[in-house]
Symmetry: C2
Subunit: 229 residues, 2 copies
Amino acid sequence: MSYKYEYPRAALTVDCVVFGLDEDDLKVLLIRRDMEPFAGRWALPGGFVHVDETLETAAMRELVEETGVQNVYLEQLYTFGDVERDPRERVVSVAYYALVKLSDHRVQAATDAREAAWFSIDDTPSLGFDHQNILATAHERLRGKVRYQPLGFELLPEKFTLRQLQQLYETILDRMLDKRNFRKKILGMGLLKELDEVETEVAHRAARLYRFDKRKYERLTKQGFNFEI
Amino acid sequence: MSYKYEYPRAALTVDCVVFGLDEDDLKVLLIRRDMEPFAGRWALPGGFVHVDETLETAAMRELVEETGVQNVYLEQLYTFGDVERDPRERVVSVAYYALVKLSDHRVQAATDAREAAWFSIDDTPSLGFDHQNILATAHERLRGKVRYQPLGFELLPEKFTLRQLQQLYETILDRMLDKRNFRKKILGMGLLKELDEVETEVAHRAARLYRFDKRKYERLTKQGFNFEI
DNA sequence: CCAAAAGTGTTTCACGTACACCCATGC
DNA sequence: GCATGGGTGTACGTGAAACACTTTTGG
C-alpha cells in the first residue's frame, strides 16, 4: 500500500473479446474466473493495465497470459466506464476485440493452467461484470465492420476456399449470399491470389485455394479503393 | 495525499473535440491552457474524471466548465493510452467528440473566464499533448460517419435550408455534390419535414426551411432502413 | 432590370440481384 | 454410378451520375 495520490483514482483494466470461426459457427473465447468477484463464473479475458505499458500491450499481454493466444488482429472497441460496473471499486475498462485463426489456436487455449474455452456466440454462459454488454457491443461492431474492411481474412487460415469465405460472411452477417454473385464480386476486386493448390481430404471435387493479397489491398486503399461486400 | 493503492495507477482524463459548422467552414473549439504543462498553448477542452462519475458525465461537465457548451451531441471516440502522452505522469485519456449548433454556441464560448475560441479545422494552432492526433482521429471519424448516420443535423439549426444541408456535406466530405441529385436523394428518404417557412434576410429568392424528423428516422431504422448520403 | 440563388426532369450507365445447370472427384 | 459440392453466364431492374434552364425575389 505505497502509492499515494491526492484524489481517488479509478482502476484501469483491459478486456478482450476474442472471436474465432469454426466452420459456420462464430465463437468467442472465455475464461473461468478463479477469484472473487464472480469466482467460478465465465468472463472475458482481461486484467489490470500496468502503469508502464500501453493499452494495446496490456491487452496482448493478458491474452497470452490467460489464454495463450498470440499474434492476432487486435483493435480497440470501446471504453466502459459505468460507476458500478465492478462491485469492488471504480474500474474503467478499455475493451478490445481480437480475430484469430481458430485452426491455429484451438489447442493452445486449452493448455493454459486457467480454464479457457470457446463458446458459440449465440450460446454463451452468463458472464460476470458487464461482460455480456461488452460482448454484444463487439459482436455488433464485427457485423458492421466486416462488410467494409477485410477483417474476415483474419478469421480464416492463410489459404482458404471461396466457399469458406462465403460461409464466413453468411455466418457473421447472418444471411445467405448467392454463390455466383459472391464470387463475381470478391474476385472482381482482384484482392485474392489464386493458388496452384486445392483443398484436400474432401469426399468430392476439391476446391481451389486462395490467399488474400494484403499488399495489394493497402496499395489500392491509398488510391481511394473501398472494400465492400 | 491520502488515497493509497497497492500498485501505481494511471490518471484518467477525458478530452473533447467539439465541432461546429460556420457557413462552409468546419470549426473546432479549443481552450488556452493556463497551467503547466503546455501553459499558454491551445488544447482540447478536458480534464480529470472524478471517481464517482461516468466518462460521459465527466466529458459533459468539463465542456460546461471550460467552454459553457451544453446540451450537445456527444459520442465516445477512442481511448488514448500511450505511456508518454503526458509529460507529468501516466495519463490515459478517453476522447469524445461533440457536435454543436454553432448559432447557439457562438457567444457562450467566449463569455467564460478561460479563453476559448473556434478555429477552422484546417488552420489550428499547434496543440499540446497528443491533441493534434486526437483531433485528426475525430475529424476522420466524423467524415466517415456522417455519410451513414444523420449526424449532420446536429451541426445545423433546427430549421435549415437544403442548401445549408448540402453545403454541410460538401464541407465535411470535402467534395462538391450535384444539387438536383442531392435533393432527390435526401427528400426521397422522407426524413425532412417541409415547413411553411422560408429563410429571411437574404438578397434573393428565399429558400424553404426544413426540419429533420428524428422520430421517423428512429422508426424506420428499427425496420431496417439505413441512412446514406 | 439585374444579380443571385431556388427549384425542377430526363437520359445514361453501372452495378446489384435473381436464377439453373454441368462438371469433377471420392467412395 | 452416385452423391456431393465446385464452378460458371445472362437477363432485368434499380439506383447513381451527368447535365441546363426557368423562376422568384430583393435591391
